[in-house]
Symmetry: C2
C-alpha cells in the first residue's frame, strides 16, 4: 500500500471529476427542461458545429458569468447531452449526438436546426 500515488487525481479546480449520466437513463422531463433554456440550447448548437473535444467550457459566447455557465454545463451533463474530459486546466466537451439521438429521436435535431438570430 504505502502512499499510493493519487492515481490521476482531479484536475482544474474540479475537486471531483465530472459525473456523467447515460442518455438511456435520462427521463424525458429532464431532457425537455434542459433544452428549454435558451442559453443551454445556444451551447448545444455551438457544440454541434464544432468537432468532438474541440471546445473548452470557457470558449463559449454566452452572456452569463463563469458561475452560471458552469451550472448550465452541469445540467446538460445530467441530461445526458454532453460528455466532459479534463485536459490540463481546461475541461473539454463533446456532444453525445448519436447516444442522445438514440434515446430521444429527433429532439436534438430540432435544437441544432433552430434559427439562431432573432
Amino acid at each position: 500500500m504505502a502512499a499510493q500515488h493519487r492515481q490521476q487525481a482531479t484536475p482544474a479546480g474540479h475537486r471531483t471529476p465530472p459525473v456523467h449520466t447515460d442518455p438511456r437513463d435520462v427521463p424525458l422531463e429532464a431532457a425537455l427542461v434542459a433544452l428549454g433554456d435558451p442559453v443551454r440550447r445556444s451551447l448545444v448548437r455551438e457544440l454541434a458545429r464544432a468537432g468532438e473535444w474541440e471546445r473548452s467550457c470557457g470558449s463559449f459566447d454566452v452572456p452569463v458569468t463563469k458561475t452560471t455557465l458552469s451550472r448550465h454545463f452541469a445540467v446538460l451533463r445530467e441530461a445526458g447531452l454532453l460528455e466532459q474530459r479534463d485536459a490540463g486546466a481546461k475541461r473539454l466537451n463533446r456532444l453525445r449526438r448519436t447516444e442522445f439521438d438514440a434515446r430521444f429521436p429527433g429532439l436534438l435535431d430540432l435544437v441544432v436546426n433552430e434559427d439562431e438570430g432573432g
Copy 2:
C-alpha cells in the same frame, strides 16, 4: 341588419372565445417549455389516446384544481399543441397532431410514447 342575432356568441363562462396559435408560429422554446411540465404532458398523452373533439377540459384525470387545469390548457393552446371548440357549456379539445408534427418532427411522439406510470 336590425338586431343581428348574436351569431355564435361565446359560450360557457368563456367571455372570449379560445385564442389559437398556429404551430408554424410557435418558437421551439415555447414548445419545449410547454412540454416540460408533467401535468401538461399527461394531458397531451390522454388526448392522443382519445378521438378528436371527444374530451372536454374537465374530463381529465390530473391532480390539480380547475383553475390550474384551465391555465395548463391555455399554455398548450399557445404552444400550438391543441385546438379548442365550445360545445354548449363544455369546451372540447383536439390534439393538433399532424400540424404540430410538421413543425417539430418527432417531438410529439416522444411525449405520447413516454412511459406513463413511474
